[in-house]
């Protein structure tokens, strides 16, 4: 088995998936980025700086925590949580943002652009740009821009320009298209800091490289705690960056089983989900070949998930390859299963997982009882849940929060009236 050499490779094809399906104007830009990246990771100074910043800035290593209460409650396997939510900015996204910012700096780029859906990747991008003094523009679908105001505010506080995109559905896909158009019009001075393991070569390989530290840490941590390797790895899959980050180091450990969890939304029989492997087909869009939710003409579909970070019609090409070669199994979690998983983890372990990560928790809840007590599951808590305050309070119809907002608003309006 040599999945690892297939999954990070310079050519950017993973079986028939991946590639670099971009307008000719971007070909040299992508090739330069690929060369710069593969050179950088051979450079001790680059790796040294990355490692140092992980220790001092992002907060690595993150803990691997034995969820004893949850394990006891479910009555099966021992459950371990890799807590990426404790990272600076609250999610694993900072791993590839830091890595790419260092690459951008190395290439002498002065300007960084990014797409964002919920704003997590945009926030992590704005953060590293503030740190490295890079000019930062974040594209965001106009709908997301309106409903994710807190993250827009934080990005602006960090000095980023946030541009609402009014094309199409006004969500993540449109933001990606807008970012690509920006890159096409100013390719030489700009680095496009793409936020997951999607897009044209070299993004899938590069972001996997910067995320694989998650699984590498897990290997030593679980060895310390159990003396062995895990039986199962579980992660949610939007584009696939946190999943590949956890899986990568174990891909060639044949006995380690892996499950990716997609957004089942309101059910995979309807249209309101983002379960590409349940209902999608092979396509080419946004620069790469993979599985997409699309109609029979090849027009990409609108998607839905309770978690903004999983709400995307495409999935990373390496993920499609690992699905096709059956190395990774895929399931999905429904919005309502995600909400109860979120609550269960909070009550049993005192951890608010991001709603994206709660998809992985939902799968753990289904799987653990069927396993033996000496078996182990590691799930990726890719982000922490405080960012989802507005969604969760709405979902739980929290009356107190509603009146709090009303009072805050009244207070604000009164304030502006008198001043």
């Amino acid at each position: 088995m040599d999945y690892k050499t297939t999954i990070i490779n310079k050519d950017g094809h993973f079986g028939s998936f991946g590639g670099r399906y971009v307008p000719e104007v971007l070909v040299p830009i992508m090739d330069d980025l690929r060369d710069a990246f593969f050179e950088a990771v051979e450079d001790e100074n680059f790796i040294g700086e990355l490692q140092k910043l992980h220790r001092t800035y992002t907060g690595r290593p993150t803990p691997l925590y034995h969820c004893e209460n949850l394990s006891a409650k479910l009555g099966g396997a021992q459950i371990f949580m890799k807590n990426e939510g404790l990272l600076h900015t609250g999610a694993h996204k900072i791993n590839h943002c830091l890595g790419q910012a260092l690459i951008a700096k190395r290439m002498g780029k002065k300007r960084v652009i990014a797409e964002t859906g919920a704003g997590q990747h945009g926030l992590a991008t704005a953060t590293v740009c503030a740190k490295f003094g890079l000019d930062c523009t974040v594209y965001m679908g106009a709908k997301d821009y309106a409903r994710q105001r807190p993250n827009v505010f934080w990005m602006e506080q960090l000095g980023a320009t946030v541009v609402p995109v009014t094309d199409g559905d006004q969500t993540l896909r449109d933001a990606i298209n807008a970012a690509l158009r920006d890159l096409i019009s100013q390719p030489e001075e700009t680095h496009y800091l793409l936020g997951t393991v999607c897009g044209p070569n070299p993004y899938p390989s590069m972001n996997t490289y910067f995320q694989k530290i998650i699984g590498e840490e897990v290997r030593t941590q679980i060895e310390d705690q159990t003396g062995g390797t895990p039986d199962y790895l579980i992660a949610c899959v939007g584009g696939g960056s946190n999943a590949l980050g956890l899986f990568y180091d174990f891909l060639d450990d044949e006995h380690v089983k892996m499950i990716g969890v997609e957004a089942g939304g309101k059910g995979v029989d309807g249209q309101e989900h983002a379960a590409r492997f349940q209902c999608g087909s092979v396509g080419v869009a946004e620069g790469f070949k993979s599985y997409f939710l699309q109609n029979s003409d090849g027009q990409l579909s609108s998607t839905h998930s309770i978690s903004a970070g999983l709400d995307y019609a495409g999935v990373g090409p390496q993920i499609a390859y690992l699905q096709e070669s059956k190395r990774v199994k895929f399931s999905y979690a429904l919005d309502r299963e995600v909400m109860s998983a979120y609550q269960l983890l909070a009550r049993t372990e005192g951890v608010f997982a991001a709603l994206e990560s709660s998809h992985a928790v939902a799968e753990v809840i289904k799987l653990a009882p069927s396993l033996k007590k000496d078996q182990s599951i590691v799930f990726n808590c890719s982000g922490r849940g405080d960012k989802d305050l507005f969604i969760v309070t709405k979902e739980l119809e929290d009356a107190g929060f509603k009146s709090f907002l009303a009072e805050e608003l009244a207070e604000l309006e009164k304030g502006s009236g008198t001043s």
Binding site: H13, S16, G19, R20, Y21, V22, P23, E24, V25, L26, V27, P28, I29, D167, G168, R173, N177, L180, R181, I184, S185, Q186, P187, E188, S281, V282, G283, V284, A285, E286, G287, K289, F292, Q294, S296, D297, G298, Q299, L300
Partner: protein, 263 residues
């Protein structure tokens, strides 16, 4: 490719540039887009590039992207687009080319799409997100060739010499040069760098050259006509008939093209 090649010969021997006009099938709707095609062809276009709309048109600027979006909102399908293109092609001796993104072709089936395009009288394909290096798993160059379609290769001003030399090996019909870095639809200033770039492409291939992206004015055509035989006009033309009643739109097309073409 017979119609295409004889038209290219005609342009070459006339000593004047030929115009390839771009439009979106099904924009504003199928019926009206057919009328628009007829008007464009009657107003002096040498070639017509008809785009089959796609949900994620990354290489297009805002004007064309919006036309794609509105066409799809109106329920335009690939089949509907192909039927309109078939009627347009049957109505004219001028070459018709299909422009679309690779996902449309791959969903239809690459071989089937090429066959069908040839059957309905199309002369060539322009697929902006299909660089030749992706041929191995997809065979679009192969099936275009087998069905006597020109698969138009695009060269950008960012393309480097070794890349240009590779691209031209796969070229047929003519070579499409983007006049500047950038997406379609913004005005291009023609400077020394542009001229140098066109000259370097010229030196690498004997095929006729088309130049496009950002063309809207006669003055630009004047500057470019010594370096390329075909002028491509897209967004500027769509702007002429966007959001106005069709009769008015057809008049605008005529007026715009007379202003542009009579060099």
């Amino acid at each position: 490719m017979k119609k295409l090649n004889s038209q290219l010969d005609r342009i070459q021997s006339s000593g004047k540039p030929g115009f390839m006009m771009h439009m979106v099938a099904g924009y504003p709707d199928l019926k009206r887009s057919e009328k628009i095609a007829t008007q464009i062809l009657e107003s002096g276009a040498a070639l017509l590039e008809v785009q089959i709309p796609f949900s994620d048109p990354v290489a297009d600027g805002p004007v064309i992207a919006r036309a794609n979006e509105l066409a799809l909102k109106n329920g335009v399908t690939v089949e509907g687009s192909l039927l309109v293109i078939e009627r347009i092609a049957a109505s004219t001796e001028k070459p018709i080319l299909i422009m679309t993104y690779f996902n449309i072709i791959q969903n239809y089936g690459v071989e089937q799409f090429c066959k069908r395009a040839a059957e309905i009288g199309v002369q060539g394909l322009i697929v902006p997100d299909y660089p030749y290096d992706e041929e191995q798993d997809n065979s679009l160059i192969k099936y275009s060739h087998e069905n006597d379609l020109a698969l138009i290769q695009v060269i950008a001003s960012t393309s480097r010499a070794d890349r240009i030399n590779e691209i031209v090996k796969h070229a047929s019909g003519f070579i499409y040069c983007m006049a500047r870095t950038g997406i379609t639809g913004r005005k291009t200033d023609i400077n020394l760098q542009t001229i140098k770039y066109l000259e370097s492409v010229r030196a690498s291939s004997d095929l006729p050259m088309a130049v496009g992206f950002g063309l809207s004015e006669r003055s630009q055509v004047q500057e470019l006509k010594n370096y390329a035989q075909i002028m491509v006009v897209g967004s500027a033309l769509i702007k002429e008939y966007a959001d106005i009643p069709i009769d008015k739109g057809l008049q605008q097309i005529k007026k715009f093209m007379i202003g542009l073409i009579d060099v």
